[in-house]
């Protein structure tokens, strides 16, 4: 009984996304701040994992919430959660930015990428977790090298822990498509990671070349 009461208290103290959105659209600045603090993390991480660029992730996060302020009335709670809606908007922005950026040659792109992951690994103990950090970096690069339609599935389902149903809603496709893309994406990731590992393993030995030619 008391648990239920606490639950009710929590529900009362923490308004839902739809309620916050309504208040925000009515001009409540605090509702915007609450909603932003609640949802910015997933949007920012999704954009970062999709693009590998911290500035782009920041821009996309800002654009997503600006869009919500402008066009928040188009959100329909019956069609899905606000989180999925925001991730869908973020996906559109990321893909658009990536399409534009593919025609540009960034200066010092590799350095920027490194900077992102140095920042993410600031808590690592350099000696103890070196191997772990290397693996994370390998996987991150492999994910970023996937084609966008496979990358977004991996980011959503594997990194963001979004359910297949929600991912299908965000991507605007069937659940079966999400499953098959994820399967294909994992196969691609394995194919990308295996050669790298083999090169590391066998860089000191001459057996690899003999096996390849066999």
């Amino acid at each position: 009984m008391s648990v239920n009461h606490l639950g009710a208290m929590n529900l009362q103290s923490e308004p839902g996304d739809s309620e916050l959105l309504r208040s925000m659209l009515a001009g409540d600045e605090e509702a915007l701040a609450l909603l932003y603090r609640r949802r910015q993390g997933s949007v920012y991480r999704f954009a970062l994992q999709m693009s590998g660029s911290k500035p782009m992730a920041e821009d996309v996060t800002q654009e997503v919430f600006l869009f919500l302020m402008r066009e928040g009335h188009v959100f329909d709670p019956a069609r899905g959660s606000l989180s999925a809606f925001l991730l869908g908007v973020a996906r559109n922005h990321v893909l658009r930015r990536m399409r534009v950026d593919q025609f540009m040659t960034p200066i010092g792109n590799d350095d920027d990428d490194e900077a992102v992951f140095v920042a993410t690994g600031t808590d690592l103990r350099p000696l103890d977790d070196l191997a772990r950090a290397e693996t994370i970096e390998l996987v991150r690069r492999a994910v970023l090298s996937l084609p966008p339609k496979y990358r977004e599935v991996v980011v959503l389902c594997e990194l963001q822990d979004v359910s297949y149903g929600e991912a299908a809603e965000i991507l605007g496709c069937a659940i079966g498509t999400v499953r098959s893309r994820l399967h294909r994406a994992r196969a691609l990731l394995l194919a990308k990671l295996r050669p790298a590992e083999q090169i590391d393993d066998e860089s000191s030995a001459s057996l690899k070349s003999a096996r390849c030619f066999a």
Binding site: G27, R45, E58, I136, L138, R194
Partner: protein, 209 residues
């Protein structure tokens, strides 16, 4: 970790590691501040109405341009009927009765606009009226003298309009009006337009070649 072969399980655990590493990442606080400022300024709300207004303004300009172009394009078409009418007058008929505007005669006279001409060949107001003889010469390839009065011409005679009647006269009639005549063609006839007033009398004549 790198020394292990990547299989499905390793991949899953590696992805979880990556997700765990990035789970604590958040957007910088400056973004929240910018959003708050945008909310206060309501600047983010303006672009869409502006775009709509711009759209309607552009549509209005396009419609105005379309109307202007169509008016210009239709103008030659309204002129065509006049030309065809003029061509129709270029018939080889010896005598033809036409209702025309009172042409210029030798004596100065005030502006007169016969109503019959307006009814038959409507000319748009504001448009320059081309003198009848000029049109006739241009379209029918005829050369005509100016109208010469036959006796006294009262300018008020033509207020009710007039008619031009094509006739043929002996070539010697040219001499009566002081015009030169080719004696070798004295037996031929010459065409002339006689201006007949509303009183039924001939008031002027011009010779046509």
């Amino acid at each position: 970790m790198n020394s292990q072969r990547f299989d499905e399980e390793t991949l899953t655990s590696s992805l979880k590691l990556l997700a765990g590493e990035m789970a604590t990442l958040n957007a910088p606080p400056e973004i929240e501040q910018k959003l708050r400022e945008a909310m206060r300024a309501r600047a983010v709300v303006r672009p869409f109405p502006k775009r709509r207004v711009g759209y309607w303004v552009a549509a209005g300009i396009a419609a105005a341009l379309l109307i202007a172009v169509s008016v210009v394009a239709l103008r030659p078409r309204t002129d065509k009927p006049n030309q065809t009418t003029a061509r129709q007058t270029d018939q080889p008929a010896v005598k033809e009765e036409r209702s025309v505007e009172v042409p210029k005669i030798l004596e100065p006279e005030p502006e007169q606009e016969p109503q019959k001409q307006i009814a038959r060949n409507p000319v748009r107001p504001g448009k320059r009226r081309v003198p009848h003889s000029e049109v006739a010469n241009h379209v029918t390839r005829e050369i005509a003298t100016d109208f010469m009065p036959l006796g006294y011409v009262n300018p008020t005679t033509f207020q009710d309009g007039g008619q031009v009647v094509r006739i043929e006269l002996p070539r010697s009639a040219l001499v009566n009006f002081g015009l030169p005549m080719n004696m070798e063609r004295y037996h031929e006839k010459v065409k002339a337009d006689v201006l007949i007033g509303s009183d039924g009398l001939a008031h002027a004549i011009r010779f046509v070649q």
